[in-house]
């Protein structure tokens, strides 16, 4: 099972580091990262492998939301199927 993490907000030092640390502590492997910065706004997408993770998706999604709020960005973790459903036939 794969998840998609998105981060949106003002760019600052250590955003990716904090999220990656959180994920590695829960045995979640990062498969791919894409990012753009538009007018100082940081826009990142991370594909992660949740099959071996030590925590359920829903609780990690809540925790990442809180983590994001602490560093002033919006972080979401969603099951990849929601994107596949909308964009792939």
């Amino acid at each position: 099972m794969k998840g998609i993490i998105t981060v949106l907000g003002k760019d600052s030092v250590g955003i990716i580091a904090k999220i990656c640390t959180y994920m590695s502590d829960r045995n979640v492997n990062v498969l791919d990262i894409a990012q753009t910065i538009v007018e100082g706004y940081f826009n990142m997408m991370m594909v992660v492998d949740l099959s071996e993770s030590s925590e359920p998706l829903a609780s990690m999604a809540s925790a990442l939301e809180t983590l994001g709020r602490d560093i002033g960005v919006v972080v979401k973790l969603q099951h990849e199927d929601i994107f596949n459903a909308i964009h792939r036939i």
Binding site: I4, T6, L8, D32, A34, Q35, T36, N43, M45, V47, L57, A58, A61, S62, K76, L77, Q78, H79, E80, D81, I82, F83, N84, A85, I86, H87, R88
Partner: protein
């Protein structure tokens, strides 16, 4: 692999354009609860609902968190009580309503539908008992919704039943006077009612259904409006194509959520209801889509054409996105739940007659329309009859959820709160129709119902 732009588009649809799954509704059959002992029947009903749907709210919340898409309502619909409770020895069905209300409270769902009767052709003593119980039952309970089907294309219109439901609406209005006649918001009159509708207040679990089913209502007027903003001034082909593509995406989300909910609850997936259902939230309005199409307000000339192409395009986009489509499937135009509709009424652009015209081409009918409390009983019957005739002749579902607000008049405002919203009170046509509706009896089925 999904691209960063696709991910961003999805997140914007949810966070900025209010994309959500409006309801996961579990339909539950109560036919196996039959018992001549009234108390025993109520006990079985309570147990069955709690047993079947105890995880419904939690599963809905879990899916919402994991996929990052709001699942706004979790609801239950049951076999029409006039059928399920027909074997009970009792004087009225108010205790069943109390039982449904308690069960809904226990499992944490906000509405339970099915305090209903199907009387399009005839009224059994049990149907009559149920209809008599509706005003006190809905006045007393919070979460119970009720409907009566009084007409169909196959059977015609039962005018005696129309006159009875007009009386029910009047009684509900009086009994819940202190709360702007809120009781009427939980009661719908139908022509061609459908058995797998997930939306309230008209949901019930038809007798042709299985023991239980998961039906999902999708939404997303905000997403459609946002998409149309990007094609301003383009021709109708482009408008229709844009709505179709958007409806496809919205429905795919519904399909995903429905399948996942069905799997986790171990209940068969029933249907997706392809409806654009507005809420009082700004940016979640069907009327705003009509404005984006180029109308000053909903109700302006062109409104019926606009809602027709919107409705048709939503269906065309949606059917391909789901394996089973059913329910009401069309654009809803509930006045009090749609900010753009409220503005249209305030501006004087929208009347009951224009709303009626719109219901010829979209689901579902005169919905959440507040009229003066002193509107005569016969006028209510006349309004209902007109709407039923539209449904019967056009072979579609139509409904009336109208609120004569006790103690209030044109220009006043009724406040229902929450999802039900608020509505400015509009005038009902004052010319008399009493001699017409009092004829009673049945209007025969139309010629095109004979298809065999």
């Amino acid at each position: 692999m999904i691209s960063i732009n696709e991910v961003r588009e999805t997140i914007q649809m949810i966070s900025e354009a209010n994309l959500d799954v409006r309801t996961i509704t579990m339909g539950i059959s109560l036919l196996d609860c039959a018992d001549s002992n009234y108390e025993a029947f109520c006990g079985k009903v309570y147990d069955k609902i709690v047993r079947k749907a105890e995880r419904l709210a939690r599963v809905g919340d879990d899916i919402s968190k994991e996929y990052g898409v709001p699942v706004v309502n979790k609801r239950v619909s049951v076999t029409p009580i006039a059928i399920a409770a027909a074997g009970c020895k009792c004087d009225d069905y108010i205790e069943v309503a109390r039982t449904l209300d308690r069960a809904a409270g226990e499992i944490g769902v906000n509405f339970v539908g099915g305090f209903s009767a199907l009387v399009q052709k005839g009224i059994t003593p049990e149907d009559r008992k149920l209809m008599d119980s509706i005003p006190p039952a809905l006045a007393e309970t919070e979460r119970v919704c009720s409907s009566v089907n009084v007409a169909s294309t196959r059977s015609g219109i039962n005018v005696d039943a129309v006159n009875s439901v007009a009386r029910i609406i009047k009684d509900l209005s009086a009994l819940t006077r202190a709360r702007d006649s809120i009781g009427c918001t939980k009661f719908v009159v139908f022509c061609n009612a459908v058995a797998d509708n997930p939306f309230m207040a008209g949901a019930f679990h038809g007798t042709e259904e299985g023991d239980a089913a998961i039906n999902v209502g999708v939404s997303g007027p905000g997403v459609v409006k946002r998409a149309l903003e990007s094609v301003r001034g383009a021709d109708f082909e482009t408008v229709c194509e844009t709505v179709k593509r958007t409806a496809f995406k919205i429905t795919r989300v519904g399909q995903l959520v429905a399948q996942e909910a069905a799997r986790r609850l171990r209940v068969p997936f029933g249907v997706i209801d392809l409806s654009l259902a507005p809420t009082p939230t700004v940016g979640d309005s069907v009327a705003e889509i009509l404005r984006e199409m180029g109308l000053e307000h909903a109700g302006a000339p062109g409104t019926t054409a606009a809602i027709a192409i919107l409705n048709d395009s939503v269906k065309k986009g949606g059917v391909m996105a789901s394996s089973y489509v059913g329910g009401l499937s069309g654009a809803f135009i509930p006045v009090s739940e749609d900010n753009g509709m409220i503005e249209a009424i305030r501006a004087g652009a929208l009347s009951i007659e224009k709303l009626e015209a719109m219901t010829c081409v979209c689901s579902v009918g005169l919905d959440m329309v507040a009229i003066p409390g002193l509107t005569p009983l016969e006028t209510l019957s006349g309004i209902i009859l007109d709407e039923m005739a539209i449904g019967m002749i056009n072979n579609k579902t139509t409904a009336v959820r109208i609120i004569p607000v006790a103690g209030k008049d044109v220009g006043d405002r009724a406040e229902f709160g929450g999802l039900m919203g608020a509505a400015p009170i509009i005038a009902a046509n004052g010319f008399k129709c009493a001699d017409f509706v009092r004829r009673g009896g049945r209007i025969p089925a139309p010629i095109h119902s004979f298809r065999n």
